[in-house]
């Protein structure tokens, strides 16, 4: 059930009206029922996977708490808890790996050994990458005794399955999200208006920005089409893709956040104007934030602080000196994290290259931090200089766009072919000689470019004001009722008038992960 469908609007209306009509103590159960209906509507066959992940993590949490309360010896408690954690993670991630990566593994083994194993393509349960990570985060936190395990299975099931975030995140944390799901919520009209604003803005980003940009991007990048286009087209298409992906994913997040807010639930922010980032590390503080913090807390720190890495750090400090020696293990842990970020996106080498591209640049710049600082001081470049900041933003945007080639292409060969064409077949005159009007193929007309430009400009102005700390939503809410609802109506009418309804699965790019 795509967010961009009448079915979903009706489903949501029933869910919201019922939520505020039933006794408040049953609101969480109402949400649980609707979450499972929502997931079952996407495919009944996928429900057992969600239940499996829920059951495994729930039982492990209860078991760990029992051990903590029944055992006396601290060593014994830790050892037993470690075993349970290990088994739980193997079961949770084992399911994810089997469902998502078996086909990829078999294809690579066949390539390596010249074998011809065939494997029936498995069903990939929607949202599996998100709910597996959410459950795994919970169980690691219980292991770390950050909080006590949830005793009520059905309440825990709601934490894993809350429908707005089930298919594309954000990846929630139990200590921030769960209590909101179980609390009683009263109807609050100003909160409802805030939700509506967020949902409308999300649909604008999705339908007017992303899906419009996608028409040009899909046409130019298609494997059969791209040889006939020059590098100029491919460059414009990759810029279009950066707009499409941001509009699609962050617009989806706005809708998810807005829908959750209809029930009084504040989900974590997943985006903070990523194209204003001044470095790739900063980019990951602004793009898919909840995946980045998940990786940092549950992979990066644990690997970096492990005894093995500690010993390795002592060795590198002895060999390479204090500064470089200290940075090498951190850089290595960072590479492992970004390898996993790449793999998380899908079973394809292009995603591994995408992850390692980000990881290696962040690792190298982390290791060079002190040297860079020295150079900057020698060249008298102040951190607060506007031109330096603009340079940093442009440099980061360029690097991010290079990585988008790997994200968008069908595979690694396709990505390299597109990159090669951008550099070797670039003709600036293509921008004004009329070649960009692809009438025949995708009805791409001058009007199309005006709409896309208008959408991008609106997105830029809103993002820029947010970056400057101005909350447009709040400002609009402080205006007289007639004016603000006029704005909402204009936005609402803009959606079908200017937007494109995505035909590809009717959905969002990240819902496929």
């Amino acid at each position: 059930m795509s967010f961009v469908s009448l079915k979903f609007v009706i489903f949501l209306l029933v869910a919201v009206i019922g939520f505020y009509s039933i006794p408040k103590r049953w609101q969480w159960a109402w949400l649980l029922a609707f979450s499972y209906v929502y997931y079952a509507a996407a495919g009944l066959k996928m429900v057992p996977f969600l239940l499996f992940s829920t059951l495994v993590s729930y039982s492990a949490g209860i078991w760990m708490d029992r051990i903590k309360n029944n055992q006396v010896e601290e060593d014994q408690i830790q050892r037993k808890k470690r075993y349970i954690l290990l088994i739980t993670l193997i079961l949770n991630f084992g399911m994810l790996v089997v469902m998502k990566y078996t086909n990829f593994a078999v294809a690579n083994l066949n390539f390596l050994f010249g074998s011809h194993f065939s494997f029936q393509a498995l069903l990939l349960p929607l949202g599996i990458s998100f709910y597996t990570f959410q459950s795994a985060g919970y169980i690691i936190d219980v292991y770390w005794e950050k909080f006590e395990a949830e005793k009520n299975f059905f309440r825990f099931a709601l934490f894993v399955s809350f429908f707005p975030q089930l298919l594309q995140g954000p990846i929630g944390r139990f200590d921030k999200l769960a209590h909101q799901l179980y609390e009683e919520h009263s109807l609050d009209w100003s909160r409802m208006e805030r939700s509506l604003q967020r949902i409308l803005w999300g649909f604008f980003k999705k339908m007017v920005v992303a899906d419009n940009a996608a028409r040009f991007v899909d046409e130019v990048f298609a494997r059969n089409n791209f040889p006939k286009y020059s590098g100029t087209f491919i460059l414009v298409a990759i810029l279009g893709y950066s707009i499409q992906l941001y509009g699609d994913f962050s617009g989806g997040m706005d809708i998810v956040k807005g829908v959750a807010l209809l029930f009084g639930i504040e989900l974590d922010e997943n985006f903070k104007r990523p194209y204003f980032a001044t470095s790739l590390a900063d980019f990951w503080h602004r793009w898919h934030i909840t995946l980045g913090t998940w990786m940092k807390d549950y992979v990066f720190y644990p690997i970096s602080l492990s005894k093995t890495m500690n010993r390795f750090g002592k060795f590198t400090r002895k060999v390479f000196g204090k500064n470089i020696g200290r940075a090498i293990p951190i850089g290595l842990a960072n590479l492992i994290v970004f390898f996993l970020v790449g793999v998380w996106h899908g079973a394809n080498w292009k995603y591994i290259v995408y992850g390692l591209f980000h990881g290696s640049i962040i690792a190298i710049s982390g290791m060079m931090m002190l040297t860079t600082r020295k150079w900057k001081s020698k060249l008298h470049i102040p951190d607060i200089s506007i031109s330096w900041r603009v340079f940093q933003i442009a440099r980061t945007f360029l690097l991010v766009n290079i990585s988008w080639y790997f994200d968008r292409a069908d595979d690694l060969n396709h990505a390299f072919a597109l990159l090669n064409k951008t550099v070797t077949d670039f003709h600036i005159s293509d921008l004004w000689n009329g070649k960009f009007l692809l009438y025949g193929v995708t009805r791409i007309t001058p009007e199309y470019y005006y709409v896309v430009l208008f959408a991008c400009l609106t997105l830029f102005v809103v993002s820029y004001t947010q970056e400057k700390g101005i909350h447009l939503g709040e400002r609009i809410r402080s205006k007289p009722i007639v004016l603000r609802f006029a704005i909402y109506l204009i936005l609402l009418y803009a959606l079908p008038a200017l937007g494109t309804l995505s035909s590809s699965s009717g959905g969002f790019i990240y819902a496929q992960f």
Binding site: D297, L305, G313, R326, A333
Partner: protein
Amino acid sequence: VKNSEGLQKIIAILEEICPGVDYNNSQTLVDHQIIDSFAILSLVAELQEEFDVYITPMQIKPANFNSAQALWNMVERLQAGGK
């Protein structure tokens, strides 16, 4: 190690890893991203060596890293065998 002595040592380590910050007064080193995860791990490596403590992922939270004083409190706690 006395409180003031430990604190000064921590400030010196912070200065070396990420110079140009007022560590005597700053209370939001993590919250305002003055020190990033690379700096946090460099700091951990130095603290472990200097004060002979073992820092686990559980201790990596803003409350322990937001100020020099919070860092020193964590070190003292770990030296005393606490979590």
